[in-house]
Amino acid sequence: QQQVKQSPQSLIVQKGGISIINCAYENTAFDYFPWYQQFPGKGPALLIAIRPDVSEKKEGRFTISFNKSAKQFSLHIMDSQPGDSATYFCAANTQGGSEKLVFGKGTKLTVNP
């Protein structure tokens, strides 16, 4: 049973555009929502994370938007660059609960020059 649903599976954006990846979750006990970025030939790396006490978190060109009532969160990449081309995974967990993150299935982002 997939507990975090991620969309789209793939995304093509022009340089300078905005990339948006969406995730939805079912477990209302989740209270930690990280995003991971994976370049070809590398393992995923933590990009940015949010907790449900805030609706938005921004780090440079990357922003997480969080909607607790809708049980959805999204990653926005502003001014997308070819170097942002990677696979992005959303994830969720419960603090104080299992140490295991639940991952979405990933989105392959391609930013064309």
Binding site: K42, G43, P44, A45, L46, A49, Q95, G96, E99, K100
Partner: protein, 114 residues
């Protein structure tokens, strides 16, 4: 920087062989994980260990076993490799109670079973 090192980047094994994938982390992390990554299926947890000699099954443990004799090392064992175990295998580690600090992943081992 925390490093998670997987011993092989590429492996080719024959059907029926016993295969060992090794993972070592250098930051004294309590938790270690093995995932497999397949196109369209994302990251699927095989096994998880939160302490030496402790292990917990993930979502897809069938056909796999693990060993954690030392805190820094977590081994994934394919008892009798099959072609459907051809995949990218990723090891990760994290602090106990520290998933809020994220997992650190290795670079992966691409295993081909022929």
């Amino acid at each position: 920087d925390v490093k998670v090192t997987q011993s092989s980047r590429y492996l080719v094994k024959r059907t029926g062989e016993k295969v060992f994938l090794e993972c070592v982390q250098d930051m004294d992390h309590e938790n270690m994980f093995w995932y497999r990554q397949d196109p369209g299926l994302g990251l699927r947890l095989i096994y998880f260990s939160y302490d030496v000699k402790m292990k917990e099954k993930g979502d897809i443990p069938e056909g796999y076993s693990v060993s954690r004799e030392k805190k820094e090392r977590f081994s994934l064992i394919l008892e009798s490799a099959s072609t459907n175990q051809t995949s990218m295998y990723l090891c990760a580690s994290s602090l106990w109670g520290g998933t809020n600090y994220g997992y650190t992943f290795g670079s992966g081992t691409r295993l081909t079973v022929v």
